[in-house]
């Protein structure tokens, strides 16, 4: 539909670009979704801390992506050129002059700035994923330091391998909107973090049994999941990178159905394993379905997307149990959702849908492995270094009293007691 001569059409350019901008806003709202979900899933005494971290992550993510991330991920020069460029202090954005940054920038699909801001919203996502997994016990400043490094170097590097036209792209690795490049990357970072941090105090008894530590607000967690689903239409839909009616509407259908199927998969598996209707599993199931479809949202029929979502949802309760069995403590289930379902979704492209096939499957496995090894090593190394230098875990006393009081000297909910107004107005 978009033949070469057609994309010079002014109106098409305006509408294509508009859609990416609207999608940008939707992806932005995912940060609120993550914040709400993570806040709901931690204990009350750590709620301010997780909110604070999420506010800073989006700020750091946007600024560093402007500073160097975007250029690293989509280099218009080769590696040597890039080093030279940064070497002479040429950070920030370089708007191509005139129509080169507008109509001609991406064959009439979006402008240079649109490209930047859409990608920038994705970037911060990977840190937010880490933030949930390491919650309730990580020190604030070391975590923010990790995020800065992770989002400005690690994420753009692997992103470049595929979306920047790097070697994985040449190899035929397929990842439509980032099951691996965004979600698994976050998941690997999370995994490195929780291994080095250790479990929250009291999570695992000496006899190996698991003590659940319920999140403090299910309504907030549910709010977060719905907002994430809402934003996911922009995450996947915007990744079409134009407003092509056929492609975007298909992606909407597969995204919606996979999320729904994720809920149903998690519902049935959680019910049969745990004999309970566990809301937290259904919530994670929805997210699992969404992460799962992300790699191949444009390759699946609606029926296939349901299959991908069902499997992803079903994986969630099992993954949660397994991570708990090996004593990897993840308060919000980020590794189950983003890492496990991210891998599943990327594999699914080789198994189901219009590009399924052995060759594709091998490419997918290569991509998963390469990015996994790199990201995990990078994150583990970074966390390890920070741990050696300044420590990454709060003291037991701080953990017990909560990070809100000990790191922020604030409470998430003040004055819930009747006496409060008097205390405050003495």
């Amino acid at each position: 539909m978009y033949q070469n001569q057609e994309w010079m059409n002014e109106s098409l350019f305006v509408v294509n670009n508009l859609w990416i901008l609207v999608a940008t806003v939707l992806v932005f709202v995912m940060h609120l979704g993550f914040s709400a979900l993570e806040t709901g899933f931690v204990r009350q005494k750590n709620a301010v801390n997780i909110l604070f971290k999420n506010c800073m992550i989006i700020a750091i993510g946007l600024i560093t992506y402007w500073f160097c991330g975007f250029n690293l991920m989509y280099p218009d020069v080769n590696l040597v050129g890039l080093v030279a460029k940064f070497g002479i202090g040429d950070f920030g954005l370089n708007l191509p002059a005139g129509d080169d940054g507008l109509l001609l920038y991406a064959e009439g699909q979006y402008t240079y700035y649109t490209d930047f801001i859409f990608q920038a919203m994705f970037a911060a996502t990977c840190c937010t994923i880490v933030s949930g997994a390491v919650a309730e016990r990580i020190k604030l400043m070391p975590f923010l330091l990790f995020c800065t490094v992770f989002v400005s170097i690690c994420y753009p590097m692997t992103g470049m391998w595929k979306w920047g036209g790097g070697w994985l792209d040449s190899l035929g690795f397929y990842d439509f909107a980032g099951s691996t490049i965004v979600h698994s990357v976050g998941g690997w970072g999370a995994l490195a973090g929780i291994i080095l941090l250790g479990a929250r105090r009291g999570k695992y008894r000496s006899d190996g049994s698991v003590v659940p530590i319920p999140g403090h607000s299910m309504p907030f967690a549910t709010l977060g999941v719905f907002l994430l689903w809402f934003g996911w239409f922009g995450f996947n839909g915007g990744s079409v990178l134009s407003a092509d009616p056929g492609a975007v509407s298909l992606v909407f259908v597969t995204t919606a159905l996979a999320g729904a199927a994720g809920a149903i998969g998690a519902f049935f598996v959680a019910r049969s394993i745990f004999k309970s209707y566990d809301l937290s599993m259904v919530l994670n199931g929805i997210l699992g379905g969404l992460v799962g479809i992300t790699a191949g949202a444009d390759l699946m029929t609606p029926g296939q997307s349901i299959l991908v979502g069902l499997v992803a949802g079903a994986l969630i309760p099992m993954a949660v149990v397994i991570f708990d069995r090996i004593k990897l403590d993840d308060p919000v289930g980020a590794t189950s959702v983003h890492l496990v379902c991210g891998i599943w979704g990327t594999l699914a492209v080789g198994l189901i849908g219009s590009q399924a096939g052995l060759g594709q499957l091998l490419a997918q496995i290569t991509g998963i492995a390469a990015i996994g090894v790199f990201t995990f090593s990078f994150s583990f190394g970074t966390f390890y270094l920070i741990k050696k230098v300044s420590g990454i875990r709060v003291s037991e006393e701080q953990e017990l009293r909560g990070l809100d009081i000990t790191e922020h000297e604030m409470e998430a909910y003040s004055g819930t007691v009747n006496v409060a107004y008097d205390m405050a107005v003495e």
Binding site: P214, S280, P317
Partner: protein
């Protein structure tokens, strides 16, 4: 003067309140408390792990009464709070030396 403290099931509060009112006792103070006892705590499942919160939420009712009304009140509370299942709770009677009404400065019987 005596103080009656009754630890009861939250779900029997209305019945106890009604019974007290029948016994002409309309003044009392209550708090939510948590109890460990023979009755097992609430069973909670979260992310696949089972979890016994251990305690059960209960209400503690406190009533100040002249000595002669105590037996009567205890009987009323007991009947109203009774279900027969494990976990019904206890009623405790203590002697108090003095009660003063803040508003009237009156003491003991007159303070009520």
């Amino acid at each position: 003067m005596k103080k009656i403290e009754a630890i009861i099931r939250s779900s029997r509060f209305d019945e106890v309140k009604a019974a007290l009112s029948e016994a002409d006792i309309n003044f009392f103070t209550f708090t939510e408390v948590k109890g460990f006892g023979k009755q097992k705590g609430e069973h909670v499942v979260y992310r696949g792990a089972v979890y016994d919160v251990g305690y059960i939420a209960r209400l503690l009712i406190q009533i100040i009464l002249p000595d002669n009304q105590v037996e009567h009140a205890v009987e009323h509370i007991r009947k109203a709070a009774y279900t027969g299942e494990i976990g019904d709770g206890k009623i405790i009677v203590t002697h108090i030396e003095e009660v003063i009404s803040i508003r009237t400065s009156k003491r003991n019987e007159e303070a009520l």
